[in-house]
Structure formats: C-alpha cells, structure tokens
Symmetry: C2
Subunit: 239 residues, 2 copies
C-alpha cells in the first residue's frame, strides 16, 4: 500500500502531508523525530571516516540513546530502506537524512543583539559544521560589538537585509524589554522561525515559529529533577 492510500484510508487531510523536495510523500515529522534524525546524521558522519559501511538499528540506537525500534520506525517513516540482514547503508543514510533535513539548502540566519550572548553566537564555530551560516549581526550600537568575524550593522537596516537575502530564520539575543519589538521587525520582514534567548516567552504570530531557549527555566528544572532524584534514592534506601 502506498503512502497516499494509507493517508486516505486513515482519513488524514492533505494539509498533514508534505512534499519534501525529494518527491516522496511523507508524513510531517514531529520535533522529536527531527531532532533524532539530526542526531543520527551526526553519528553517521563520524562513523563514515572510520571506514564503516553499514550500521544496524541497535548501533544507532545505542549511539543516541534510543531503542532499535525507534530507529527502524524513524527510517521507515522517511522511507529509507535497510537490508533484512545487512542493516542500513551509511552512505545512503547520510544522503537521505541530509535530503530530509534540507542539507542541500542554504541555512542562513541573522542575529539581533550583539551583547555578550550575541557575540558568543557570532563566534560559535559549530554552526558551520551543521551547515548554518550566521550572515550578520544587528545592534542599536553596531560599534560596541567590536571586531567580529561577522559584520555588525545598525538594527534599523535589519529588515532590508532580511528581505534582500531572503532570510527565513533569525536569532534574538536582545534584552527582554526589546525582544517583542525586535520580533515584530523580523516577522514583518519575512522571518518565519526565531530562536529566542531573551528571558521572555515570545509568542509566534502570523505563522512565525518561536523557539524559546530559556536558560533560567532549564536550570531550575535541573534542580528540581536532581532534588527529586535524591528523594527517590532516599526512599529506595528504605527497602
């Protein structure tokens, strides 16, 4: 049964499907699946130079900490075939995962706010490894950023830059009081996805996706879990 039949039978509407550019109809993958696919790809890229040609679902599962079932399900979802006894071909996996994740496309981003966090991001070399290019930083005072490997412009020029470079994803690293206003500027210029480091929960309007990275909340959560772990250990000691 082909995928289209499957979705018809299940009563899905067309909106829930998408053409990923490799001409395979596939189900929209949720965030955790996508993150797993990106992790597989990272592992595979390290495995290939070591001379490996094939992997089994349990190898990859071990590597990123999931069960083999999840790995097989994930690959099945995006129609990557394996061999019943020979596992999966690494070259093929890298190609196919790359296609799904859009590795052939340019991933250009802009940054608003060139303070401490913004500056750290501008010098963050790991972005390049994932195919992400930070094209420019913007700030109220472009001079204060100092010498950077990336140009810093006045924030009033940001919308024009976004439009002329067809940029769809931006990073916000301004103080919380300025965040909402900067977001508006970005979405107004065509930005559709934002990684927000300002300690306010920005809300996406008009189809703009917001990913709030809230360091304080994350650390708070860590403390809670740690405290919980202690309590559980205490209780188990009672046995």
């Amino acid at each position: 049964m082909c995928y289209l039949d499957f979705i018809m039978q299940k009563g899905y509407i067309l909106m829930q499907c998408c053409d990923t550019g490799n001409n395979k109809m596939q189900k929209c993958l949720n965030k955790s699946t996508i993150l797993r696919l990106a992790r597989y790809l990272r592992v595979l890229k390290k495995l290939k130079p070591l001379g490996f040609v094939k992997v089994f679902s349990n190898n990859l599962g071990d590597a990123i900490g999931v069960t083999p079932s999840v790995v097989r399900k994930d690959f099945s979802m995006i129609s990557i075939p394996g061999n019943k006894r020979g596992g999966y071909n690494i070259d093929n996996l890298i190609t196919e995962l790359g296609a799904v994740l859009g590795k052939n496309q340019s991933h250009d981003v802009v940054l608003a706010g060139c303070g401490r966090i913004g500056s750290a991001l501008m010098e963050y070399k790991e972005f390049a490894k994932d195919g992400i290019r930070l094209l420019a930083g913007f700030d109220l005072d472009p001079a204060r950023a100092g010498a950077k490997s990336i140009p810093v412009y006045d924030i009033k020029d940001m919308p024009e830059f976004i439009r002329s470079h067809n940029i769809t994803v931006g990073i916000i690293a301004v103080p919380d009081t300025a965040a909402a206003q900067v977001l508006e500027k970005m979405t107004g210029a065509g930005i559709q996805g934002v990684l927000n480091f300002a300690p306010v929960e920005l809300k996406g309007s008009g189809g703009c996706l917001i990913l709030n990275v809230n360091l304080g909340l994350e650390i708070e959560n860590l403390f809670y879990q740690v405290k919980l772990g202690d309590k559980q250990a205490d209780l188990s000691d009672l046995n």
Copy 2:
C-alpha cells in the same frame, strides 16, 4: 480518596512518589509540567506588583499559551486549591509554586569553560532573578577570562570547590573534545545535574542528569519546521 489510596489502587510503587519537603505526597511531575509551573510563577510575579490578587485558570492559560484545563490540572496535581468562583489566590500560588520548585533552597551552580559562551553566562543577569547563583567559573587558563563579576579558578580546583560548597548542578561550556572529561570530573565530585553546551551528546552515568543544549540542532529543526510550514501553506493555496 487520598493520594496514597490512589497510587495503591493504580498499583504504583512507592519509588514513583516523593516528599517535596512541604509534607504533601505528590506525584512526580514530568519535565513539561515543571517548566509550566516555573512559567506560571514568572507571570504571577509580574502580576502581583500590578495589584492583582486573584487569577483564573484562563488568564494564566492565555499568559503561557496553554488551555485552562491544563492550568487547573497542574494546580490540582500539586494540591493548590482555588475557589469555585473566585479563581486562585496569587499570593498562595506564589508561595506554593515556590515551594514545589524549591525556591526556598539555594540554587548554586558552577561553570566549566570560560570561553565565549562561558563568559556570557557568567555575566548573565537573569539567573539571579530565578534564584540561581553562579558561584565560580573554572578554566584551564583562568587568566584568559579577564575581569569578571564572578571568580575564575583553575579547573583542577573544581572538584574540591564542588565538594566544599555542596554543589549539585554544573554547566559545561568547554570545547567538545574536553566535555566528556569535564563531565567525569564533575560527577566524581558529586554533581548530579549538568547543563551541557558542548556540541556532543553527553550521556549521564551513575544517576547524573544531563541536559544537552544543542544550538545547531535546534536551529536545524527550526529550518525544517519553517520549510514544512511553507509547503503546507502552498498546499492549502491549492484549495
């Protein structure tokens, strides 16, 4: 029916419960619930100075972007009572949420790696607002961090510092090649929770909790979702 009866009936084992220190038995809350509770608390702390005394579940739901049902369920889980027509008392919510989140306890953390990201974190003022204190930074070369508002010591002194200050949570912001080694040092000294900025997936051993903040993967995911949104919009245009 009291909670203990409930868990007996459901067949839960005692390990799944915990005493949060306020002498109420309560179910272990999952990560997303905890993050929501922390968000409620932030909103409430902004609401109180404005003179508000009560809130309704739909107010709080709107504020953090969830349905009123979720809010009521969350408060019900941690036994915070409301009034059938008068909503929830803000002071009481702040007290109770603070107790669950451990706001009365000190949340001291140490940082390994005082490069660009580490330095940005040392000067990150928002931690204080969430009751988080970054006590010290550690680096192979303490001098390179320059003048900071927080002391920077040689990384070889980190374990001793962690032990003497009874610190349970640490932040890793070293290069990926050093991350695993630093993690070992931390867990060896008693660290039980780690926020990891190094672009490697660290795995928790011996009950140490790891929270990997992987900026590259997150941005990649954002690009995927944005691309997906476009495709969906295109499809809906066909109607």
